[in-house]
Assembly symmetry: C2
Homo-oligomer: 613 residues x 2
Amino acid sequence: MGDAPARTEFKVTTGPIRGSRKIHIGDRRVAMRAVDLEPSSGEPPVVLYDTSGPYTDPASRIDIMAGLSELRAAWIRARGDVEEVDARETRPEDNGQLGPDRSGGVSPFPNVRKRVLRARAGANVTQMHYARRGIVTPEMEYVAIRENLGREELLVTRDGQDFGASIPDFVTPEFVRDEVARGRAIIPVNINHPETEPMAIGRNFLVKINANIGNSAVASDVAAEVDKMVWAIRWGADTVMDLSTGRNIHDTREWIVRNSPVPIGTVPIYQALEKTGGVAEDLTWEIYRDTLIEQAEQGVDYFTIHAGVRLPYVPLTAKRVTGIVSRGGSIMAKWCLAHHRESFLYERFDEICEIMKAYDIAFSLGDGLRPGSTADANDEAQFAELYTLGELTKKAWAHDVQVMIEGPGHVPMHKIKENMDKQLAACGEAPFYTLGPLVTDVAPGYDHITSGIGAAMIGWFGTAMLCYVTPKEHLGLPDRDDVKVGVVTYKLAAHAADLAKGHPAAKAHDDALSKARFEFRWRDQFNLSLDPETAEQYHDQTLPAEGAKTAHFCSMCGPKFCSMKITQEVRDFAAKQNAPLKQSLTVKEAEAGMARMSESYREGGDLYVPIVP
Amino acid sequence: MGDAPARTEFKVTTGPIRGSRKIHIGDRRVAMRAVDLEPSSGEPPVVLYDTSGPYTDPASRIDIMAGLSELRAAWIRARGDVEEVDARETRPEDNGQLGPDRSGGVSPFPNVRKRVLRARAGANVTQMHYARRGIVTPEMEYVAIRENLGREELLVTRDGQDFGASIPDFVTPEFVRDEVARGRAIIPVNINHPETEPMAIGRNFLVKINANIGNSAVASDVAAEVDKMVWAIRWGADTVMDLSTGRNIHDTREWIVRNSPVPIGTVPIYQALEKTGGVAEDLTWEIYRDTLIEQAEQGVDYFTIHAGVRLPYVPLTAKRVTGIVSRGGSIMAKWCLAHHRESFLYERFDEICEIMKAYDIAFSLGDGLRPGSTADANDEAQFAELYTLGELTKKAWAHDVQVMIEGPGHVPMHKIKENMDKQLAACGEAPFYTLGPLVTDVAPGYDHITSGIGAAMIGWFGTAMLCYVTPKEHLGLPDRDDVKVGVVTYKLAAHAADLAKGHPAAKAHDDALSKARFEFRWRDQFNLSLDPETAEQYHDQTLPAEGAKTAHFCSMCGPKFCSMKITQEVRDFAAKQNAPLKQSLTVKEAEAGMARMSESYREGGDLYVPIVP
């Protein structure tokens, strides 16, 4: 494995997010970021959720060759239910290197572990297992603090429509435990990925987003993929899926996992297929099982497993406009048809659960029959599979294995809610994890937006995690800029969902930015943005002068014509009268006030009398 | 007016939209575009709505200095209800040129009309007036053909949720007349803007989008604004609003109107304010009235008039997070407070109607008290104004004047539908015309997306026209690229709304693109996109070779791993059995089929037996 050209020049972006300060809360040192506002605001710092890990912490020393420090290592060991074993030996086929040709290979990760953890014989190391036994783990405590974002200090009035979710005013560790125990939330934390900062996926928590990275047979290399991971979490990706295919899958994944503070997901069938040289019919349970173990030992936190693509459902897709578009789904469909046998993923599901619980890997039950066009949305193939995923959820829960459910895809707006409702009913409120959905197919090049619309809506309806789509979807592989645009778009969709659901911290963030805007605190406005750099850059394109950042006007209206300035005058005008104004007057009160005002005018009184009810 | 530096170098984009052919349907020569598909598809050309006017017609000669040809001139004259009068003379203050300083001035439009049209004494030249008298105008015929997009030949099954709209299977001229007569749709067509290709705004028609352009006191010039107009309609803007402030307003508008095939809207109070030197208190009915006449004679098709900002509503905004953010609203609020008098727009509304009906200008009743942040959405100020707009709608309708109603703004998702429901009820189904709404305030730089989400939703609920938002919203003035991104984003939002409402032509477009995608007809996929250039460019970034455009795979999966290819194999596999497949099997049928299949396998039959119910 030593003759590959060394590519050790990893450039990843470090340093604070513009205008934010890294903070660590409590004994568990929960990472967040604080945005200090201009003194004129008279307001405390705004605390924001932070997925970026140590990369944005000036106090951290980043060494990509060594990997991140192991926040959770002691927590895992302290539970006394794991043992150290020799790691499975890497084989050439793990990297798609079946022949002697190693050209295009990547350096293996230098700090690779020879010993890995797994559950002791008979033990179950899942967060769900602990939760169901009433144990509040450090991971749950971390999540509770992280989710609150200091909301105990917020004076926000709850306002939202949550479609039956149960978002608490304040998240306690016990609440987290209960949600995990019920299966309504998962904390994806493989015991071999102690670098993770724990996070929860569930509809009573903040809506999360996932970014996909991964090399493919056609392009990409490992350095670019690690950089994309760091870049994606900088802008807000809560989890990252490595969807690599082709060569160097194993080594690429090792680099990514060792350097990732967020949960990593994969689709193991991609690698298993590589081990057969790409021939779906040659896949076997043994190859697949070996791949699960291989990835479990590396520390992958959740596996997409398309165990719901059952043989009888395959013909349901034959008359679709776009057939089967899930890669995993089509591989399994081909396997089922070729052998005209039931899927081994479905038949071996209990055995898969045994592996998952030995490492605490969460299922992301794949929707291999999801629609690939708005025309195919909500059809029988899709829902037949969903019901099977519901059945498998219950099986996994019987093993105390954590589960989320993948969802579409391509769905016109009027069919989105049905997806959420059916998923909640069929899968016992297990977290839903959807890809968009795209609400139309006519805008390739803008599918981050066509899907961002669907994502915001389904997030509002109850989806717990949204899988991002970049502008390159359906056209090519995303580059660094595409990853950023995809992540920010999904972050705003998730935030819009939180706001509509009535999440207190979401409203606080919106209001802080709106106040900054109204008061022409330009720097605060930039710093509170999901993408401070772009906001400032756009501002500077029209009004580059430094003075314009403190100016009480903007380029849209100019100094004379500013509506916000006029509003301030309206307020000042009212305030001059030295009378308190009610938060909101009724129209009737206001009209009565006007009548009195006119009267006082006729009597030679003040120009304007504020309305005191 | 002759000493301004001549700026005659107008560069506007002409030539066909990539992959589209200009076509003209019927005697009225209704402009559309057709996308020819690859012969392998075996499908007829896809007909798409086309807002781009003669600029994309290779048979047209474009001369910006002369203006467009007058499609409607003969139709207008033939009605025998207009007379030609001397145009109001342009005054220096019309261009904000109160002093002798003419630096920064623009050349007046060379082909300016000395004589203009207005209704004969006692005549009413509105499309609503004709409609109510049972007259089907050429404009209504044009709209009917334009809206159909050849849908009579489409075999699309209706599928949608239209929230009580009445979208017909096929649009007839009589249907258009009826919708205009009821006030449920408007056709904004000033008799002094005969260059327009008529279009309808109403919830039973395709959802329309508006693009704002306009110089401001801080930046921009006339050449850039004309170019932006041409550029905006190329990508799909159905109407364009000229929101210029500062200098050269009159001349800039003349250039735009004379060269615009789409309706032009303005906010006359902006220009009226310039005539007072920017002092809101100095506004008078006389200045405002003069401005209406000035713009009516130039051919502006709709006026935003903030007549619903009544004095008693102003205090309702004082405790808002962001007060009054509408420019027109804040001007009127300031005027009302300063004079502590009721708005002259409200008091003189009947007089305004008299002007509107003499030129057929439609009202766009402005929402001067719209929320400027999600925090302020759906508050009492906003809805108090909306009810007044409903009252004014009925007044305008008594004059047979066409009306649409402007809506917000900034609204979290859970409060969007209430806006639509209240608007429909208060304003008697007059078309709603909303600005987004933005569903969150935390993403400056991405407000085309935060607002595109709200726009798609409210368009689905029944909004007839969506006012675009560019990425520069809240930060700076949009450049050419921003205009394009804004237009395409709103076009996809409007299309997603049409699709969800069940518009037959919308579904046909989606399906055509999806089929092209599934069959790897890359060129068809690009050509059917809302932005063919970006789609192709993104594709080429990963797979630039010409051969890749006919390749039966793409860069996401590569040649070995293509799920669409596998689906085709699944289909071929099924087809080989020479048995018809039902459009969709029930799960029960499929399971029964599987049982039979297994049976036949055990008996040594074919590998796979398709399911015949």
